[in-house]
Subunit: 489 residues, 4 copies
């Protein structure tokens, strides 16, 4: 509890006004190689998807050994604890915590002994029917040791009836509603699977050594030197094992699919691909679209580093207004529980960002930010620019206002926390102190992405790809859900 | 020993081919405020100047209390260990380790009880006559508990004869040859002082609450909300105390002074000022100068993030060749002792940087880097670009080749380690695999900085501002020093 | 693995030649009191029963909160992590590790969410049919996350069909063969239960505040200030809740019961009662019996501290030979992985015990030890006495030779490790270097205990109270089990 | 500060009512052996003399390497941090903290570089003129980094003028008033020295490998397998080096000497010798003397474990009243900051000791304790006996009442804390609830020890062996010192 309230008061927390991904996952099959170390490097490249806990499970064909703990990948693993993790197959997981409860109980992979042998599961996503599935498992007499839906997935595989893991996984997928990119480890195989909506990314590639690797993002496969990288299709299961990949379209992809737009906007590394397109290029396109949609006469275009840099470059190139750095970001921001006193805060103690004053003084500044969630970060940033002498501050956002929570594994915050849920754009503009504020409209965002549909934009529109059962996942949501139904129609 | 060899083999180490600053320092006088917390935030903003150890000493007028330990500022300090550090005066220190021996013995501040009362000292720099001073102290019967020249400074203050700290410090400064930016804490005052050559930066400013603060960089004073920021002059002592600042030109500034050029090139935060000029602007100027000096027909200009970004923007604007991101830097690189096996490395496992392939494929690329020290980082980076399909790679460096070691507190490496000490530019170009390589010549670098003299460029020229006694500080230097004398003439 | 081999080579390990108890357990019901703290003190008093891990689970009627970790009770718990454990009911557990694998996965209590609500279980003992029960659970589709039979117990309670916890526990007990003293926590009750053989101890008492407490040993209840202490009967379940204890004879006690003799010999605190008798007094009786059975002319009687002290006092009083201290035991022996080199060991470096030379020099010494398991401790101790000048060393053991392993939760070692499994008494005497060696015969031991039957003496006789299924629990046991059957007849 | 008050409230603290030794020291010369490991084992055997911090310094002839930290010996040292400490000479130190401030700054050895080369010093004792010596050093211009008088000793050796370490040490000893048993390490030698009063013990012995070892107690030398053990004489310096021991009577022993009686009463291991006599035997003699001095009709004699066991055996043998165990001591008492609430305490929660009820119920009990300092432990113990049904409780103490503080390095507490400073024996008896209370008179204590004089009994008599300068070491002492002079006459 003390932990929780510290976190909420923590300036390094409230200064990061972004939705939060829940996880990064990876799987490796590389006979004769140091698979644990390769898994480590893949997780290292996926660290931005989750910083709370990390874990690796490895099979040598006879048993599965696992190490997981709370902390960054580089803190959790040492040469000493990696050494015993020898084998041919491995899976790994980075966890982001939604609740402030940093418990080892919820760290992944989740490893169970089953009648089919040991099974380890790591999961990126959220099952919206987990409550029902959980209840079914409990009613069937299974006891559950965590609140994680990854345990539900693992126990369902333990209880499933099919002939082999492939069949059991296929059967279980029929029951799962929601977002799941999965890596699964048994004694003799590693599996990757993606829900039929295709919410979250997952790619596979060929390792230089001849084996295969899978990871949430193609950027991590790049880091491993992979070639022949392709995305796992929605509804697809792929088994990594001794011979060629075994690929099966377990479930037909939903029509339309529901890929998460936010992978483009913020989550993915810029060197990753999402839905066959370069994330970096899409972000530049978003900037270009903003320049066309919301031009303004100004002296300089600056990004809120780091995710908005490509969009700011794109805006600059399309508008002809010079690009420059305006904010300096402290690279050493980490988990500190020391916060400025109120007095210090009022005196302007700026922990995470400083302004390069002479770039800003007496200038008309266009600030590009990727998204606006709670709105608590951008206001102090704009104030920093004002203090540095900015004449005008025009804020441009590369996506529409976020007005609805996400139920597919992204921590957007509750309706009550989302500034756009209850404020008009003009109210927001006034509240954050900008001279002008433009959000990129949905259709222009999708044009910049290069697709008309197939994406989940529920956080902008409230139109979820399916009815969300239970409705009560987050406090205060009950009132919100009515709005959603109103709007969703 | 294991530590050391691990470090040398550590990819996150050899991929950081930069000179290393030894320290960041700060001093606060803020009666009625939480000075320890303010010192913490100042050190936080100076973290880039040293990541090995951190310390804070605070005086409440009756005693000095201190906490220091190995680790990042955010790791060393907690609300619990900051709480007892109450008082009106404080000094703080971030340490960078040159030797790989991470010992708490060398952490600063250095606190001594003396006949004049308790004295705490924190130091950025290096006394080139420390060996003689050390010997004198030992001969006088003083025992020394560390190899740090900060202890020498503190013991000299303990033994000095003057009437007050001001006088004693002035007397001692007469004996010190080399680089020293100092913060000194006694029961009733805090002092800041800078050597008469002015090697390293140090600024003071007025706190919003009415007190004063000093810090290695103006960017840290910004973070504290300071106004009226000015640099401490070479040879100047300033006492922070109850009334107005007491300022005295203790020693006449050397003519010429010897300000460290590398603060512009690499060390300082871009939002800091150095010698009255904006570091960010100077870096843009360096890029502009490079574009004029070494133009090349190409499709895109990319920086090696983060320090080269302004120069790449400058190069782009001057040349009209579009600026873009080409490398993605892993923000979570920290102290990991897990390294790729040779096999993995040969397979291209890229730990710190990935390339955004589609920006690079089939392109003629200009890469801007701030400096080239050992040359071991840039070669793999260029290879990454080649692997991504770059047609041409043109490397432009914002300073001349570094051919000589530094004796003023910057870890450049030994002559044997400096690639430019024994290789021509063309040999270097071939070795790193670039299509062309141009270093910004000294005179154009100085023009971009906006000064003709007053700077120490010894690492480029071998012309040191004074004869360096002892000559044997680093292994292999004996041979090198002959070269230096040859060249220096 | 390194851990394991270190442990085996660890002198503080091989110098402790005792059977090892697996656990201490406790349960508290104390509305309005700080039950977590009371549980802590009870575990503190039971620390001798297990030093590897400790855990406490507390219910406030709405949820169960738990903290457990590897380490001593005093290391695992702090005021900070105890504070959130508020409620009216609690259970606690100290774990002893049999395998050298100090895994948090096997720490207890084991907490599951079930269809009947949350259930936490802590267990002292061993189910000999755990393999079959485990297989049944797996076949029913349950996945298991540890190798602990406590998880089996918890999952069986999760899947059991009865109307309330009492009924479900009763049903499950019908299936369990082996040793189990249990404490079980639900939202509204705490339960204690003991197997119908009564292998391991468990007592309940009335707290000064009006609630109830249970603990493995009456000594721990003493520490809590309990009165009205009585043992839980074999086959009995007792519910601790708002009103009077609810007591039920769930299973009829076996006839004969099979109480563990070793609680008298070694395990229990001397201030505890076992089967209604004072452990301290029984140990004195064992010494008296030894004096009568195996008299020898000598100058002094000394114990191997601490567990043999009462028996040595008893021997002295019965024989008239003066009692004295002969060994000094290092009280700070803990987990050190620093061991003497072979050279140092040969030179006589004595880590755990020293001899008080002048007590021993030129004396005929009777040494009383409680038991002899591997025989690797007593040989160096006798050598220490010889080095100190003892003229004669007569070893007297307060129980018969241990020749067979235990399957009821006590770590005796395998047949191959038990010195008496393959050596005659005279061979042992020669091997350890004693002038004479007498084990107290079984019938005299039982007389001293004051009972003819009702005790499990399988480790002495090989006559187990039931057929042990599976037979292969420990390596090398297959050969041994034939012997057992031969002897058992 | 929080630490301090926690400690004072800590039941494991107030239940240990003993004077506290400040240190254990050791020195090893063993060419070709693992001297660091040998030093570790010696410190392990001396752990009872100080549990706050531990350190080892080793010389290989070229440099001195050191590791020290806060914690028990087994916590401070690991195979990893011992490994680099290779060499032929070593010294080690266990520290007891008098003040509650567990600072690494005060851990020993204290290592200085001096004009004579590196010098490491470890110290058991207290210089009563340290304030003057400290002032002299400060006045001479030396800065001091700690409040430890060990640093004073080291800096005096750094500044001393003599030809070699032997001479410099001899000169310095002339200036030191008070208690000091020292081990000193230089590059090529290890020295041991003892003050001319001989306050604290120090012995040397011949190692099996041919080298020499020194330690505070002969028991530790025993542990190392030493033979030819003898005490370092008061005023003697011994150099351990390549050839035979170099022994010199640096200062004439005082006449009379002032050996600390409390080494016999409580501090030393029972297997150690002090002043040529067995500590265990002396403690038995003290019990015998008590039996003769203060006989009482009773049923059983019990010790307060562990230090009073030999005296209780002696009392029993002299009186014919049976010896038995009455208290069970929790062997796992360590540093826990979890304390019983007042409610729990009132309910009788007994953390450290339990009573074996049936030994006590309805009995007339003689309790033997070694000493009575604050009297806060014995009262609850007597209450435990009463609660267990003791008919009578007769307390016998093996020394006179402690009425005066110690200035020679033993933490007795201040006058105000010493129960006997302001209460008569009968008042104490009433306060602690005993039926009778007898302290062994000074002359009978000395008879049991076997000496008439040569011992410091200042804590009993107030007659210090010299005038204590400064008088104000502990708060409230000013008033006390008048009493002392009154009584001392």
């Amino acid at each position: 509890m003390m932990m929780l309230s510290n976190t909420l008061n923590n300036p390094s927390f409230w200064l990061d006004d972004h939705p939060h991904e829940e996880c990064g996952i990876t799987a490796i099959f590389a006979p004769g190689e140091d698979v644990a170390r390769m898994t480590f490097f893949s997780l290292f490249a996926l660290q931005h998807r989750g910083q709370e806990a990390a874990g690796i499970a490895v099979s040598d064909g006879f048993s599965i050994r696992m190490h997981k703990d709370i902390g960054l990948v580089s803190q959790v693993f040492t040469p000493e604890n990696l050494a015993p993790l020898s084998g041919n197959f491995a899976i790994g997981h980075n966890r982001y915590s939604t609740t402030g409860s940093s418990s080892i109980r919820n760290a992944q992979p989740f490893l169970l002994e089953t009648r089919h042998g040991p099974v380890a599961v790591a999961h990126n996503g959220n099952l919206v029917n987990s409550k029902e599935l959980r209840q079914e498992l409990l009613e069937s007499g299974v006891g559950l040791s965590s609140s994680s839906d990854t345990e539900i997935i693992a126990q369902m595989l333990a209880g499933a009836a099919g002939e082999d893991t492939f069949e059991r996984l296929k059967d279980a997928m029929l029951r799962w509603i929601g977002a799941y990119s999965l890596v699964i480890l048994t004694l003799k195989e590693a599996f990757v699977a993606r829900d039929p909506w295709g919410f979250h990314p997952l790619s596979v590639g060929l390792l230089p050594s001849g084996g295969h690797a899978a990871a949430s993002e193609s950027g991590a496969l790049h880091t491993l030197g992979c070639v022949g990288i392709r995305e796992v299709k929605p509804g697809e299961i792929i088994a990594l094992s001794n011979h060629a990949l075994r690929v099966e379209q377990a479930l037909q992809p939903k029509n339309p699919t529901a890929l998460c737009t936010f992978e483009n906007i913020y989550f993915s590394r810029p060197d990753s691909f999402w839905d066959g397109r370069s994330v970096h290029q899409i972000r530049k396109n978003l900037g270009t679209a903003l320049a066309k949609t919301a031009p303004v006469d100004a002296d300089v275009v600056i990004p809120v580093p780091d995710s908005s840099i490509p969009a700011a470059i794109g805006y600059s190139q399309a508008s002809g207004i010079p690009y420059d750095e305006g904010f300096v970001k402290n690279r050493y921001i980490g988990r500190t529980f020391i916060e400025p006193t109120d007095t210090l805060r009022k005196q302007g103690v700026a922990l995470k960002f400083n302004v390069i004053d002479e770039k800003i003084c007496n200038q008309r500044v266009i600030v590009i930010d990727d998204s606006l969630v709670r709105g608590n970060t951008i206001a102090p940033l704009i104030q920093l620019l004002r203090d540095a002498g900015a004449r005008e501050v025009h804020l441009r956002i590369t996506c529409p206002p976020i007005s609805y929570p996400c139920f597919m594994g992204v921590d957007m915050g509750t309706c009550g926390e989302l500034i756009a849920h209850s404020h008009t754009v003009d109210e927001i503009r006034e509240q954050i102190g900008a001279d002008s504020l433009v959000f990129l409209p949905l259709n222009k965002m999708m044009s910049a992405i290069g697709k008309d549909d197939g994406y989940c934009n529920a956080c902008f529109t409230g139109c979820y790809p399916f009815t969300v059962p239970g409705h009560g996942i987050k406090m205060g949501f009950e009132n919100c859900i009515n709005d959603i139904h109103g709007i969703g129609r």
